[in-house]
Symmetry: D2
Subunit: 304 residues, 4 copies
């Protein structure tokens, strides 16, 4: 069975599940998304691509941007990034302060909010205009020049992000945030607010599937070691408190966001984006998880 | 032996210890205080008073103001104050976020920072000009109209108070802060920045020793039940992680501050303020604790 | 109003509440106790006594024995007892392991299970036959030679005491238990299983009200400092997670047990035992708390 | 370069590091092992094998047996195994009780001590003679009939295993242990005490590399789904608090033990055992980690 047929069958199979998840509703921009949306885009490194459903419709990538932020930070700053953020999985829900306090302000990994906020703080010092640089980077690696932040989403999150404010302030009290708290938060919410569609996301993440070399501009962003590190973090920390479940069911390095998007890659082979807004109780796209599970089962192309 | 002689002997006995403590140094205004300062002021409810040392010199009362804030809140709002802050001792250091997160944003008691910040939030809603009302209240119960906030102290604490910012934001994420985070923090730092001397402090706290009736204006601020509640909280929660030690060594309800002040009361009898800037490792005035211990031993007037 | 009338009125007032509490049911011996039982016994240090209700009926004193264990340990070993157990209130439920693990096996105070188990371990090393010595001590200070352990209760608790086993093993892993785990647990359950009635309990605790001197044999068991320390711990740690509540409502040093007993003392004045099997949600006798609250309100004899 | 040369070069490269690690010393049997020992055995599923150093010398496999225990439990009991043990990585050190208490006695995953103890409890109910069945299973999948438990090691661990006793008792208090505490502990220590050499270990774990089918007896022990689950757990939870580090540096599912052994597999390809007794500060073989890192770098055969 070819990829075209596999994606079509997945769509058919997961369609009845789209009302099982719960759309994130803490900000209006996420709450009003149609829960029946479903899109999937597979980009092979050989240049072929396959798509199904609402793959052209943009959605808020949210935490998926944490991987792009990390790539950008490592590409510019190298290994010293990991002096201020650890690389181990976290046993607590994705925004817990407990572990952060016991570990003296050093986040467990770059994909929990605390970790991404420290990365944001580093990017402020590393770039003159970090927001523009992030957009430049994302556009360059995806090949889509119209990727944009969504100011309404960023502003909404800023207004209700008290837990993130608590996290940044706590880390600053431990000396692990160098810039002004509000500066860090503003930029972080800009990063999370980026809108992309499945195609753009899949093509952007070919950067990682391709061992750190951009598929559009052929630029080498990450060393082999840096590529391995980021892929390993995606493997062990990409899904909040469901990393083990994802490793089992899907068996690919990946990252999810509360907008309902999930990206998964198979190094040397492909990048695969899926989107369905309804979340399971752990905060990951319910239909997206299922779609990826069917995909790796059908194609037998997980890392295991 | 009379009180005059007892205070004199205490001064003599504790003098050699004044270099053992460590002056709080996280803000310049506290760090530059002369560590050899020592003052003590005893105000009996019968009107007599006794003093020794630098009792006329003002210092930053810091956390001692938490008791005055609580009195003011309870006096105005009654028992509903305790719906948003608990009354049990805390087993963790005074500014820990762990317990706060596990207990869903409800602070353990009004004398840890989290609790005092919730009280501050209540005072904003209860008074048109809460800072002025606090000064009015403190001046009224102490009988000293020149009690003032210290803007330089407040501003310094604001600039380095990232842990307090984390605490307020965390509580706001749980819905236990109603006003703007910065509004709460600004007012809180104003409250903590009040400068008073031993005499003023002792006379202000006669309010509590006198079962909630001001000794200057004879006004009834607290019901008998409210008085008991506040005294009980002073007894069990007044000394951070050294409440048990103070109950043993001194045996009086009290409250300390990082400025080196300690207030202790014996209901129906007296209010006693002591000041020495050097702190022990738990953050309480080293010499102040010792002075009070000698006082209750000599006078046999603890609650036990 | 005299004490006789006060106790009578208390009985009348709390009677309707006796079905509100919940009798401890984790072992059959406690579960089968009649929830309508109520007894109270007041022993003044001047020799007078007053009683009401089922004051002659024995019940399982349970955690109240922790105070007697501590008295016995301090009387024999002195201050070094406090090298292996702290004296500060605990912010967690009474048998939590979390704090114990973070504080490296040193219990917060001698009245949580962990602390009493360390005291038990000390008593094994301090006495040839610690169980007999405990009975001898309790009989001597109470003046009742028929005080006994209840083997059925001890055996039942032993069989379901997995959390206590976890606690002892955890402390032993930190080196804070010297004897065999089972030896410590067996003795601990013997201590907790003692049956006493309100009269016996009140008379035994005159030891503490009387500053450490037995009222029956006039023997000095505790120094003045040791007496103060134990009273302070009763004041701040005697009621699990309701210490602050008890300090407010009753305002006396005390200790409760899951058998429904509560002991409270006023130094120099009296010892007061109350018993009602139904517990509130914090594990303290619901009616007992209320009875003591009425008593101190009526007599105005709290420490505040 | 062929595998023979690669192993030889690895040996040469890691030899100077063998004094950098610290041999586990909490029991005499582990403490007396020569720290300069080093062995490695690679078993390809095509039947070829390569070895270097002390690959014939047996060592205590310790926690590596947790994988075999899990395979045996899943093979017999199916998915219901995961109703009593979770499958997510743990953010705390390998034997912490904190998380266990907050998560009501359900261990985070089967490779922390708590999880393996629950698996042991299941095996007691699933087999008449679980110790013999475990040996039968290990012998069958490895093809080595002389695999044995080491009674001296088991006995030594039993005598100092207070933290494990605490863990089992805590889980029993939550109802997640069905059998007698001592029965569970005894069997667990037997399982951990197994002695194997690199060859035996590599050949036993071909079971997993071969998708759950034994390479010696061609028996199908695990379904495809069960194989994936176990491999995913090895990927995310196999190295205590260094799972992310191992995923990065080695990039293979694996498991380590405090005896200095590490097993790693590449599904469909090979099973690779390495042994060097010196541990790094996280409790994993220092030289073993390095050897595996060089291996996957040289052969480019990690999962990424």
């Amino acid at each position: 069975m070819n990829y075209h047929d596999i994606l079509a069958r997945i769509q058919e199979e997961v369609l009845p599940l789209s009302n099982k998840g719960k759309v994130a509703d803490y900000i209006p921009q996420l709450a009003k998304v149609d829960p029946s949306k479903f899109g999937m885009y597979l980009h092979l490194l050989n240049g072929q691509s396959y798509a199904v459903g609402d793959w052209e419709e943009r959605f808020s990538i949210q935490s998926i941007s944490k991987v792009l932020m990390l790539c950008m930070a490592v590409s510019k700053l190298g290994e010293k990034v990991y002096e201020r953020v650890n690389v181990e999985p976290s046993g607590d829900p994705f925004n817990s302060l407990v572990q952060l306090e016991y570990e003296r302000g050093i986040p467990r990994n770059p994909f929990i909010n605390a970790g991404a906020l420290v990365i944001t703080d580093m990017l402020i010092d590393a770039f003159n205009d970090p927001k523009q640089s992030f957009l430049d980077f994302t556009r360059a690696v995806s090949g889509h020049l119209d990727v944009q932040c969504n100011p309404a989403v960023a502003e909404s999150e800023r207004r209700c992000g008290f837990k993130n404010s608590a996290i940044v302030n706590l880390m600053k009290s431990f000396g692990n945030i160098k810039n002004e708290v509000d500066r860090v938060l503003d930029l972080y919410y800009d990063f999370c607010s980026v809108d992309m569609n499945c195609q753009q996301l899949a093509q952007a993440f070919c950067l990682i599937a391709n061992h750190g070399r951009g598929i559009v501009n052929d630029q080498k962003y990450l060393s082999e070691s840096q590529f391995k590190r980021i892929t390993a973090i995606m493997m062990t920390c990409g899904f909040y408190d469901e990393a083990g479940e994802f490793a089992f069911k899907v068996g690919l390095p990946g990252k999810s966001g509360v907008g309902g998007g999930i990206i998964a890659i198979l190094p040397n082979e492909f990048s695969l984006a899926v989107w369905s807004p309804g979340l399971n109780e752990k905060g990951n796209s319910l239909v997206g998880m299922k779609a990826l599970e069917i995909f790796t089962t059908q194609t037998a192309c997980s890392i295991f």
